[in-house]
Symmetry: C2
Subunit: 322 residues, 2 copies
Amino acid sequence: MENLNHYLDIFMNALEQNEFHNEPQELYEPINYILNIGGKRLRPIIALMTCDLFGGDIEQAINPSLAIEYFHNFTLMHDDIMDKAPLRRGKASVHEKYSTDTAILSGDALLVKAYQYFEGLPAEKFKEVVSLFSYAALTVCEGQQYDMNFENQAEVTEDEYMKMIFYKTGSLTAAAFKIGAIIANASEEDANYIYSFGKHLGIAFQLKDDLLDVYGDTEKVGKMHAGDIFENKKTILYIKALENANEEQAKELRFWYNMNTQNIDKVYSVENIFRHLRVDHLVEDEIIKHTKLAKDFLGKIQGIKNKKVLTDFCDDLIGRSY
Amino acid sequence: MENLNHYLDIFMNALEQNEFHNEPQELYEPINYILNIGGKRLRPIIALMTCDLFGGDIEQAINPSLAIEYFHNFTLMHDDIMDKAPLRRGKASVHEKYSTDTAILSGDALLVKAYQYFEGLPAEKFKEVVSLFSYAALTVCEGQQYDMNFENQAEVTEDEYMKMIFYKTGSLTAAAFKIGAIIANASEEDANYIYSFGKHLGIAFQLKDDLLDVYGDTEKVGKMHAGDIFENKKTILYIKALENANEEQAKELRFWYNMNTQNIDKVYSVENIFRHLRVDHLVEDEIIKHTKLAKDFLGKIQGIKNKKVLTDFCDDLIGRSY
């Protein structure tokens, strides 16, 4: 993703310039903390890149790209509380380092800050972008709720799962693309096409994440191998497996996914069923389907001359082994 | 406040019409729950009334008034977690009835919903109102942080305290007035005057609340007598007392405010000092000062013919004995 370093540099510079020095510092320091512990910065890069590709003024997309990253980090602060996650990108999560109250309140402030970072846009665009942003923000909340519901739900259908991952991760990605397009004065059709491109790319990206939990290069993934299995997460791997399992296999899968254990036998047994059912191929097919859908929408866009940056971006995200 | 029943009826009808039936219900049911357990609905009434008084179309202020009430209830959901409050208006608080995770996530969704309820406004007004709303929202977060800081802060100055209560409660009240004015196409000067009116009224209202904790009609207040003293809350009463105390009185005040006890001697001793120092008069003077400031700003407004509704509103809020 060499091409993207340019956008990343612009974004990182803006992030640094906009570090919060406001009072009370007890509210803002945790915000600077989470913003500085890294991450791929994919969503702000997407907004900057899309604005640029549609021939827009990238300067106008800088604060909106910050808004998108602020929103994403607000969700991380609150999600980490709900997920009882002690770590975020290898460092202490905000509620762990400070307190739950801090993670709640600083998160709230960061969400409001995100809205404020659209205020540089002229009124018409401000309304269009903020409305889209609120829609995406609400789907993220709904997606998080569905995700938590799934933990206590005996069966999760593939449709339910696909909806959840679109809400929880695809929606904001799609919005980041469309916000870049709106700022660049793209036509309404093109703005909608790039949204659909982002939607299917986001879904494919999340499915790939699920796949890498078991089939990834553990050293590069930077997470524990099969963490999702240990946590009984009903990811696409589990759902595809159950769809194709015979009675005995289904019984065994349900047995393990109802058990909280760190016993390695669990991973061995579950992965054995996955292997027999060729779950990796089934999921790969799903990823290919959504990648193709994404590229079909990309093909319809009129206002971007050089689409190679986007097809490369797509291939890099989906082709990654970590 | 007979005059206001009309606005309250309009608001309550809108609130009922807009009950959330969205999915997932685990996210939206707690929102309906908190919105239905009552409250004075002062802020939405303020927005509707102000729009009406400036000759605006009250219909256009209905959704914004819902937005303001949604925001207020979002803060209650999150504040109750931080304050470990088991009750809200005599009923179980959201985190108590459901869970902390629910109170966090449903609160987040409600904040985003608030923003969405401004989307009926035309673009220029949408931007003006949403920017004002974000400013108010951020000050509320900052005010809550200052309030929490004060718990661990040995001394709180009167200036710090006044800033905190403006941020935590006055700011949203002031914004509610101004939002009503903007929707009614009030002049910029008038919109700013009504904002300042609301700001000082909001401050006077909070000071009155502090006063009533000790000097109110307990049965009517509906809260425990001297609850702030038991909780060691450094309200204006405590701050005024310390400002005027001799060395011995100051020592005794600090002694009691560093002790967590339900012993009635604490209230007896603290109130005894308050009485000697005539703290009630000192606070009354402060309330009168801010009420006068409010009315001065009201006097400057050109676009409202009949100001009696607002002076009555002011007198009712400040004159209340509960």
